[in-house]
């Protein structure tokens, strides 16, 4: 592995509280030097003048579908989509087939044969087969390298089992990434409200999410387990997280770009690219998510990258699969919607996409420090363009953001000292 000299970029590193023009010298996969002007020879010099140099982005919530649903995405294709979006570490949800609920499945995801180009950290299921009947092999998965536990796609329906899972996983230091949804209250295909009434679609109320957020915060208090609320989408959920944090409970939350960019009013026909779970909520809820990103009740931006095959989306809305891809649009949407709009600073945005998720995972990433792994992303934050779905490298194309004008483009992604994206192009 050769050396790289990144010259003249604006370094924005929230962890180290740096926002200044600096050079970075990368050698043997780690950051070897950071300085105002580094004069060293390198195998590769990247002129970052006018560009932002930041820690490689971290996404706590993606679906790479392997094994089981390789026609939607694989670890190879999903990790490349991540790299194109500036991500160097992503956490993959366990709703594969078979479910990632044991050590062998964790090892499978971590195997070099999966051909990941960035760090792909598998999340283990909480219960065997995500069936809410018995605990998955939590300790063995932790030993094999699981980064967290989640039942994503649903909630553990039995509160006693959930409580046991939280007490047990705490022993291994694994946080729980909590998909909050009371299924008996979620029999619909979009947010309940005026728009659902106009479109004649059955609605899902805020209560389906809030009732489990409430339950699991109570259980976090009882067990002391680290609880991270996934894809938070309602004002009521946010209030509960705010309250939990005020009381010093180990609770954090993430929001997706689609939940702070779109609301149910954007659904004008039966385009299933607007169908997700949780659904696009009311404008009031969307505004609450944005305010909570600003006041830092929501500390993490995660994509919930959910690739689906065209056949699973190009069908009746109520039958269509939930979710959209997000890795290749997350940086631009976050920058455009949150920073350009004046809601938060670039430093605050990157905190939510680098240092904070690293802290939740308890890993030594999400920073540009001498001696740390050379996971670096470089962006042109002045570049204005329309999102082009055809140019995306994810296997799936399910996104409602095609054609949308955004600002901010990832030009380089370096992972472990290897240039994966070079001037906007994948190197492998």
């Amino acid at each position: 592995m050769g050396s790289i000299l990144i010259k003249g970029g604006r370094l924005v590193d929230p962890k180290n509280n740096v926002d200044a023009v600096r050079d970075i010298y990368v050698s043997d996969g780690v950051i070897a030097d950071i300085g105002e002007s580094i004069e060293k020879t390198a195998d590769r010099v990247i002129d970052a003048g006018g560009l932002v140099v930041m820690p490689g982005l971290i996404d706590l919530h993606v679906h790479f579908r392997e094994p089981g649903f390789e026609k939607k995405e694989t670890i190879a294709t999903g990790s490349r989509a991540g790299a194109m979006g500036g991500f160097t570490t992503v956490c993959t949800m366990p709703n594969t087939s078979p479910v990632t609920d044991n050590a062998i499945m964790i090892e499978y995801a971590l195997s070099p044969k999966r051909d990941a180009v960035i760090n792909v950290l598998p999340i283990g299921a909480i219960t065997r087969g995500q069936q809410s009947e018995e605990l998955a092999d939590i300790g063995q998965m932790a030993r094999a390298g699981a980064c967290a536990l989640s039942e994503d796609g649903k909630s553990v329906s039995d509160p006693a089992l959930m409580k046991n899972a939280m007490r047990y996983s705490k022993m291994f230091g694994l946080p729980i990434f909590d998909h909050c949804e009371e299924i008996s209250l979620a029999k619909g295909s979009m947010n309940a409200g005026d728009r659902a009434s106009i479109l004649g679609l059955k609605g899902i109320g805020d209560d389906s999410e809030e009732i489990i957020v409430s339950r699991d915060i109570i259980l976090a208090k009882a067990t002391g387990c680290r609880l991270h609320i996934c894809h938070i989408s309602t004002e009521g959920s946010i209030e509960q997280v705010r309250n939990a944090k005020m009381h010093g409970l180990p609770v954090t939350a993430e929001a997706t770009p689609h939940h702070f960019t779109l609301c149910d009013e954007d659904i004008t026909d039966y385009d299933s690219n607007y169908k997700m779970n949780p659904p696009l909520r009311s404008r009031k809820n969307m505004e609450a998510v944005r305010q909570a990103l600003k006041d830092n009740t929501i500390e993490v931006i995660a994509t919930d990258h959910a690739p689906h095959h065209v056949d699973e989306k190009n069908c009746e809305f109520e039958k269509a699969a939930n979710g959209i891809i997000g890795l290749e649009t997350s940086f631009a949407l976050s920058y455009t919607e949150l920073v350009e709009s004046g809601l938060i600073s670039l430093d605050e945005m990157l905190m939510k996409m680098t240092a904070k998720p690293a802290e939740i995972l308890g890993i030594d990433k999400g920073q540009l420090s001498v001696g740390s792994a050379a996971d670096i992303a470089i962006a042109d934050i002045d570049h204005v363009y329309a999102i082009d779905v055809d140019k995306m490298v994810s296997k799936a194309k399910n996104t409602p953001f095609g054609g949308r004008e955004v600002k901010g483009k990832i030009l380089y992604t370096v992972c472990g000292g290897e240039i994966i994206v070079d001037n906007g192009k994948l190197t492998r």
Binding site: A192, R195, I198, Y270, E316, F317, E318
Partner: protein, 309 residues
């Protein structure tokens, strides 16, 4: 003038387009009772009915409306077709398209099914009911019946009662009636009438007698047991005594009130037998008008496709 390729719902139609259909239906009605007046206007058209849900009157009404105008009418038996082998709706539609079908009439249990079919075929698509969304031809025949009896819509007070939340009939009627200037109230138990229905420009009420007060039209809807997941009311006896329409309740309405129902009726549940068979009821006239309205729609859509060729 009706220039659209499809008829998917009343939400998107203008009042002019609705009136075009109703006025065309007027010319059609006499052809039902008098076979000598029937024409072969549609002899160059092929029509396929594609019913993913059961139906008596809608399907039969469409098939006869086509045949009274000389069209080729075929029914795709969904349960005996490739659909039962798992063929997707879009693939079924494209197959029928290749066979030269001019008009497809679809009923489907999922909202938006007619829209996705229409977006993928060259043929005209008529929505004969999609999920809990719309049933435009039922609403059009209801509108026609009201127009025939009341002369117009401006200022009419129309109350739609019962299982609103599952009713595509209520929704299509709400869209159509409000566009034509009627005042619409949707009434029923709070578990079956959501307040967010107000976004359709209608009133919502749980007080049946109050809603019926001074009504020009009372439309009952069938309790759709097949769509209920959690029982929204304790039992039928309680429902009919609190939310059903009988002669006593009907006294609150205007003297010349019309009683309507899209059928099939649960006798003694949403409407009492006396009301169903009483002097205010136009339920059987609605059935005849359904054929006239569907004849009009088929004619208008086939005229459009002729212009395209």
């Amino acid at each position: 003038m009706y220039g659209r390729k499809d008829l998917l719902g009343l939400r998107d139609l203008s009042s002019d387009e609705i009136m075009t259909i109703l006025n065309t239906a007027k010319e059609m009605k006499e052809k039902i009772d008098n076979p000598s007046l029937r024409t072969n206007d549609l002899s160059k058209s092929s029509i396929v009915t594609l019913f993913y849900e059961n139906s008596t009157r809608t399907k039969m009404s469409f098939m006869l409306a086509g045949e009274y105008q000389g069209a080729i009418v075929k029914d795709l038996g969904v349960s005996t077709s490739s659909v039962s082998k798992g063929e997707s709706l879009i693939d079924t539609g494209m197959t029928l398209d290749q066979m030269g079908t001019n008009i497809m009439i679809i009923r489907h249990q999922l909202t938006g099914a007619a829209h996705i079919l229409a977006g993928n075929v060259k043929a005209s698509v008529i929505n004969a009911g999609d999920g809990s969304n719309e049933h435009p031809t039922q609403a059009l025949l209801d509108l026609y019946t009201i127009m025939e009896r009341k002369g117009g819509f401006k200022g009419l007070k129309v109350v739609i009662l019962g299982d609103i939340s599952h009713s595509r009939v209520a929704r299509s009627n709400a869209f159509g009636l409000t566009k034509l200037g009627a005042q619409v109230t949707l009434a029923g138990p709070s578990t079956l009438v959501s307040s967010s229905m107000q976004s359709l420009g209608v009133k919502v009420s749980t007080d049946i007698a109050g809603a019926i007060h001074d009504a020009d039209v009372v439309m009952g809807l069938r309790i759709q047991f097949e769509r209920q997941r959690n029982m929204p009311f304790p039992n039928l006896r309680e429902y009919s005594s609190l939310f059903g329409v009988n002669d006593e309740i009907l006294k609150y309405a205007k003297k010349d009130v019309l009683v309507m129902h899209p059928g099939p009726v649960n006798r003694g549940v949403e409407l009492s037998t006396e009301v169903i068979d009483g002097k205010h009821s136009v339920i059987s006239i609605q059935v005849k008008n359904g054929v006239a309205v569907r004849m009009a729609i088929l004619k208008l859509l086939s005229e459009r496709s002729k212009r395209e060729v």
